[in-house]
Amino acid sequence: MDWRRFGVIALVIAILFGVVVLIGKNQTPPMVIITSMLATTIAVATPLTLGALSGIYCERAGVVNIGIEGMMLAAAFFGWLASIYMNSIFGFAPMPSLIVGVIAAVLSGALFALLHAALSITFKVDQIIGGTVINILAIGITGFLNRQLFFEEGSIFGGNVPHAPGILPSIRVPLLADVPTFGRMFDQQPITIAAIALVFITHYVLFYTRWGLRTRAVGEHPRAADTVGINVARMRYANVIIGGCMAGLGGAYFTLQSVPSFEPLMTNGRGFISLAAMIFGNWTPIGAWAASLVFGTAQAMQINLQFFRELILPEWAFLKNSYIVGLAPYILTMLILTGIIGKTTPPAADGVPYEK
């Protein structure tokens, strides 16, 4: 990550914050607006951050993964399903049910990743097609099971959607959360905290450990890795599955942390936006997190503007329409992917199957 890129990120975030502050400043003190925006940004950036980390593990090892969207959707569904089973059928308390739900989400992400790994590493299927298969499969399976289990006559839940065990409670970071005004930022739910921790863990793993060196080697020049005795296929499998776990945790965000329900297609393109964040962050964890925060800011703007709907000036009337503001993350994605913010360099062997 170069400083210029961080500069662009800071600038975009500042502009989006500025819009909200300008509109709301007569009703709410700017500091409160900024803190609220920051807290929302960090929270809604969670699935993007985890999705980008998923992409980083896969692509640094040389496997393109456009199936993150599908992995997240499947994880969101199966995590939710597991938590409901635990809670309604086996009668566990909400908290253990939610924890089992998170584990189930991570495992289903890993399982879909295993499929992607088998397709792209063992069977050398075109990786874009493999990823597309994952996406379509996830939409199909989750939509089908959702109907069959909950809405069909005679299904397990007999046409009634049972109550979910709720959402993961937020955790107050000791001391920091007690700071007036800004403390709000350090009052976050567990998946968000895990995502931020994983950003730094991934950075360390990739650039300071043997695992990371070998991962990057098989993604840059698999033959060179092979000639020094590294098992290319094994490294790639392991990293794709780790990536699947990241996407799975990102999926858990939707149904176990954000809202206590599942809707078909609820990931809503977040998996693809996280790929844009990964690219914008030049395949580095910290860069990708910064980029996820840009997208998070765009979404936080949409959420926060709703509080100030009445204050929006007539000539800014388009901001009243949350659908238009809601386009911001997607427009940002397109701008970023056109490469106007400088060139990024993917790993040299990204997407290329290794032939011995």
Partner: protein, 524 residues
């Protein structure tokens, strides 16, 4: 059979040292690839502290044998014996732990990694869970100093020149305590000076007890540096000889299996008027640096002008500008009086230019197209290849069959992808396409790089034939021998300028070498 040397497994040469000195022995190695018997009962041995050259043309089975010894492939039959014990080598891990290191022809280095990261990869030193870069760097410095290898552990490999990258590869093997080092065509990518440095390093290594297998197809190098030379052809060992008891002609015979003419047969020839005229040409490279500065010269019909120079002195950009692949930033280019400055390649081609590009796989061929399609790339849009905008497969096919036999291209059929052919045959496809047209000017950039003796001989004869038929030939080559053998006049390029222009007859190797190294002497 016109072969001077019968294929045989027996080596007539008596062993002069005791058996225990043999550090590595391959016995009866056989490896079958689909359609090719790559190694056929190969026997080979390496003594402690010697440089043993393995000589042969491309496809003779040298690299296969080494990949088997290194564990990248498994032999179908035969044993590898290391230090007197039969070794089970299943993967590079096994060979590395037996003290075998290999420097591959295409470097196994990761450009975005530092030297230290490249060296430690697969054999990392770990301190408290993290990579211990300092310890590795210290060890690299120590090895580097000991053998005069001059490798900076913190440099990014992608920033290093090719010669230094190769040293990093050598450090990689020594870092793993290799006592047997296999060098696969190490000089193919080096300038003459870098090759000299490499030979010095090789001698240093053997003086310290390292044994080296030196794979090459260059006779001179084998004769210059090897203690013994083993020649392979068509998957078999032909013979093992001492350099003092053989010569180039004999080795070439063994390699190719027939008499080879090593000197180019070139008669004096009267040059006509200038075909290519270059006036004050300046060119920038992709980093926007001016790599050709105000160059002027001409090439007459019926002569070969050789451009000598160490690689990277502007030759690439010059030939790209002359063939329409790169826009010059200043000056003029004329072909037969037509101003073609900055014109696209098609205009150049139609004016009578034939181009044999430097990178044959990227700029000379479409690797995934058939031989027949590649042979029509210059005129596919004309009748008879196209009629009313539709390609005529029959015409392409006939053209290809004619050229395949005329230019002796070894291909199973015209429909095989160009990428499947050997380097020599790929080059023949390009030569056939370019030189079968009516051509006034030939620009050949490194036309024989990486080719085997037979193909080099053939390409050279074609170039001389074009000249004798009255075409102007501009030959760019990093091989001074090639320049001197083919050219009528020689221009030396140094840092983007032509620093000398001489007639070949009046030049000497030493003088040219000085000019190439930047010693500015008045133009003779």
């Amino acid at each position: 059979m016109t072969e001077n040397y019968m294929l045989s497994e027996a080596r007539p040469e008596p062993r002069r040292r005791i058996e225990t000195n043999i550090v590595l022995e391959a016995k009866g190695i056989t490896k079958q690839f689909p359609g090719v018997l790559a190694n056929d009962k190969v026997n080979f041995d390496l003594r402690k502290g010697e440089i043993h050259a393995l000589l042969g043309e491309n496809g003779a089975g040298k690299s296969t044998l080494m990949n088997l010894i290194y564990g990248l492939h498994r032999p179908d039959k035969g044993d590898v014996i290391v230090n007197g014990k039969t070794a089970a080598i299943h993967s590079p891990n096994d060979s590395i732990s037996l003290g075998i290191g290999m420097v591959h022809q295409h470097f196994m280095l990761i450009p975005v990694f530092t030297v230290a990261e490249n060296v430690m990869l697969g054999d990392e030193t770990i301190k408290r869970g993290a990579l211990d870069r300092n310890t590795v760097a210290a060890k690299i410095n120590e090895i580097s100093k000991q053998y005069g290898l001059d490798a900076d552990p913190n440099a990014l490999v992608g920033d290093l020149p090719v010669g230094l990258q190769q040293r990093v590869e050598i450090v990689k093997t020594l870092y793993r305590n290799a006592e047997i080092v296999i060098l696969d065509e190490p000089t193919a990518v080096l300038t003459p000076q870098e090759a000299e440095d490499l030979f010095r390093i090789m001698r240093d290594l053997t003086a310290r007890g390292v044994s080296i297998i030196f794979i090459t197809h260059k006779l001179k190098e084998a004769l210059a540096i090897a203690d013994r030379i083993t020649v392979m052809r068509a998957g078999r060992v032909i013979n093992t000889v001492l350099p003092s008891e053989t010569d180039s002609a004999q080795l070439a015979n063994m390699m190719v299996g027939r008499q080879v003419i090593l000197t180019v047969d070139k008669k004096d020839h009267e040059a006509k008027e200038a075909v290519l005229k270059v006036e004050n040409l300046s060119v920038r490279d992709q980093r926007d640096l001016e790599t050709v500065h105000h160059v002027s010269f001409f090439v007459r019909g019926g002569e070969v002008l050789g451009i000598a120079g160490v690689q990277g002195n502007g030759q690439t950009e010059l030939s790209e500008a002359l063939t329409g692949l790169r826009h010059p930033t200043g000056g003029k280019v004329f072909i037969s009086g037509h101003d073609v400055t900055g014109k696209p390649p098609r205009v150049m081609t139609e004016t009578g230019l034939a181009h044999i590009p430097e990178d044959r796989q990227r700029h000379g061929l479409v690797m995934s197209y058939s031989v027949a399609d590649n042979m029509a790339l210059c005129d596919y849009y004309h009748p008879p290849f196209s009629k009313r905008g539709v390609i005529q497969p029959k015409a392409l096919d006939e053209n290809a069959r004619r050229l395949i036999s005329a230019f002796d291209v070894r291909t199973p059929s015209p429909f095989v992808n160009a990428g499947k052919l050997s380097g020599g045959n790929q080059q023949k496809v390009i030569v056939a396409r370019e030189l079968s047209r009516s051509v006034k000017l030939v620009i050949a950039n490194q036309p024989t790089r990486g080719l085997d003796v037979g193909s080099i001989e053939y390409i050279h004869s074609v170039i001389v034939k074009m000249r004798d038929n009255g075409a102007a030939v501009l030959l760019v080559s990093a091989e001074l021998d090639e320049i001197m053998a083919l050219s009528d006049r020689i221009a030396v390029m140094y840092r983007g300028q032509i620093v000398a222009m001489v007639e070949t007859k009046k030049s000497t190797r030493e003088q040219l070498g000085l000019w190439m190294a930047g010693a500015h002497v008045e133009t003779a």
